[in-house]
């Protein structure tokens, strides 16, 4: 039964099932808070960590050779612990705001670093995307989700092809500008 439930969680992440994701959120948040609060983390940090971990799993399960080798809660907790350890490591390597002087060298194997960086980039993208107006968000999604120009013009009630094109470039320009100004992007680019 437990294995079926774990697989159910994975499938829910794949399709973005709100009800199951809410269950994971309610189930895992107490563990996350116990993990991060003693080391200076807040509820908002725990919420960010929860979202990052789910996005990382979403990316991981796209890989054809992905198999869940432990209980979902263990897998999820392990990912959160690695993400949090790395967060503390970055924080402590800057100016002395964190009193712990021991090194946070989390140990992982395989493609962890790549997945973690991809997750950070997705977070930067989404943070910027949320700052765009609704029409910009919709227009960009339609453009890059293989809709035809006619469908886009009809759905967005845009008068001309040229106007739609110009709007797209404006929105994309705004989006990339917002991403470039995100401190996390600047940190990644260092």
């Amino acid at each position: 039964m437990a294995e079926l439930r774990d697989q159910h969680y994975i499938e829910a992440i794949k399709i973005g099932d709100r009800v199951v994701l809410e269950t994971i959120y309610q189930t895992m948040m107490p563990s996350l808070l116990r993990l991060i609060k003693p080391t200076g983390g807040s509820i908002d940090d725990a919420k960010d960590l929860f979202q990052d971990a789910i996005v990382l799993i979403f990316k991981k399960i796209q890989q054809p050779d992905f198999t869940l080798t432990s209980a979902f809660s263990s897998y999820f907790y392990g990912i959160c612990r690695n993400l949090w350890a790395n967060h503390l490591k970055k924080k402590s390597s800057g100016h002395v705001t964190f009193g712990e002087d021991t090194k946070y060298n989390f140990v992982t194997d395989g493609d962890w670093h790549e997945l973690e960086e991809q997750t950070t980039r997705t977070r930067i993208f989404y943070r910027a995307f949320r700052q765009l107006g609704q029409d910009c968000q919709q227009l960009l999604q339609l453009f890059f989700q293989q809709k035809t120009m006619e469908e886009i013009m009809q759905e967005m009630q845009l008068g001309s092809y040229d106007y739609a094109r110009r709007r797209k470039y404006l929105c994309k320009g705004k989006l990339t500008e917002l991403m470039k100004n995100d401190p996390a992007y600047q940190e990644l680019s260092r």
């Binding site: 399709i15 509820i43 009193g99 470039y169």
Partner: protein
């Protein structure tokens, strides 16, 4: 010099392989020398991939909505509640002892204050820390160095600093509702041990329950140092496999730990096999050898 919008258009055409030969050559030569343009190409490549991933955007939108809902911070339930009304005097008496000791020390000018020398810590085969800190880690929980007749120089206060993640979990039902729940019955409370010939030996016992029949080796006992980083980096001093014994619908385990440990604070963490999420936590203080 092109403006931003022209650059964005040009990059999109480049990424979509829509540039003609001369424009492509010109763009590539610009790319070779212009690091900012290269960064912009990478960024736009990412933006296109993220926007094209409808399933991921749906997931991100859902997660964004979910975390907006209020979340009540849970409180841990202690397995062994302390007697009501007695909780205040333990820290109170501790403070009095410290104050009395400081007062006594102040009246003894002839006695030289011992220096804290990390080198004086006896070397053992299991070191709880990577490096002796040069600065005492900040913690809301004070370190409780055991009283000893030995020179205090032999003890390093950093080795007795509570682990900030594990200490609040000691003696609590850490995780409920999972596939397996487990708790310690022995040690039922924090242990204080003095090594014999450099070794400590003690018995660990506990109970487990599970939705479905667990594998015999479903649980594992991890011994951690007091360092936060050792827990976060998943670096236990020792892993002990446990064997579950079925008694009716319940399960029991027991394990004798015989370990060479230097003085300090340690944590026993019960986890599922292949997991690092604590099910139960207990702590041990190791004193100086007699």
């Amino acid at each position: 010099m092109m403006n931003k919008q022209q650059d964005i258009e040009l990059i999109e055409q480049y990424l979509d392989n829509q540039l003609n030969e001369p424009d492509l050559m010109a763009f590539q030569s610009r790319l070779a020398t212009d690091a900012e343009l290269r960064a912009l190409v990478d960024l736009q490549r990412q933006v296109q991939a993220e926007l094209a991933n409808a399933a991921q955007i749906k997931l991100l939108n859902t997660l964004h909505d979910i975390v907006q809902s209020p979340f009540e911070v849970p409180t841990l339930q202690k397995e062994t509640p302390t007697k009501p009304g007695l909780g205040w005097w333990i820290p109170g008496v501790s403070i009095l002892i410290v104050v009395a000791y400081l007062f006594y020390s102040a009246l003894q000018p002839a006695v030289q204050q011992p220096q804290l020398q990390p080198e004086a810590v006896p070397k053992t085969d299991a070191q709880p820390a990577e490096q002796v800190p040069t600065q005492t880690p900040k913690s809301e929980i004070p370190a409780q160095v055991p009283k000893t007749t030995e020179p205090i120089a032999a003890l390093n206060p950093a080795d007795f600093q509570p682990n900030r993640i594990l200490d609040p979990l000691v003696g609590s039902q850490v995780r409920g509702g999972g596939a397996i729940e487990a708790s310690f019955t022995q040690p039922a409370k924090s242990l204080n041990l003095t090594p014999q010939n450099g070794r400590i030996s003690f018995l660990v016992k506990g109970n487990a329950s599970a939705d479905d029949k667990p594998e015999k080796d479903a649980l594992q006992l991890l011994l951690f140092s007091n360092r936060d980083a050792d827990f976060l980096n998943n670096k236990p001093i020792q892993k002990f496999p446990l064997s579950l014994l079925s008694i009716g619908n319940a399960y029991r385990f027991s394990k004798t730990i015989d370990q060479n440990l230097k003085p300090g604070l340690y944590y026993l963490v019960l986890v599922e096999k292949n997991s690092i999420e604590p099910l139960a936590v207990q702590k041990i203080t190791v004193n100086l050898s007699k």
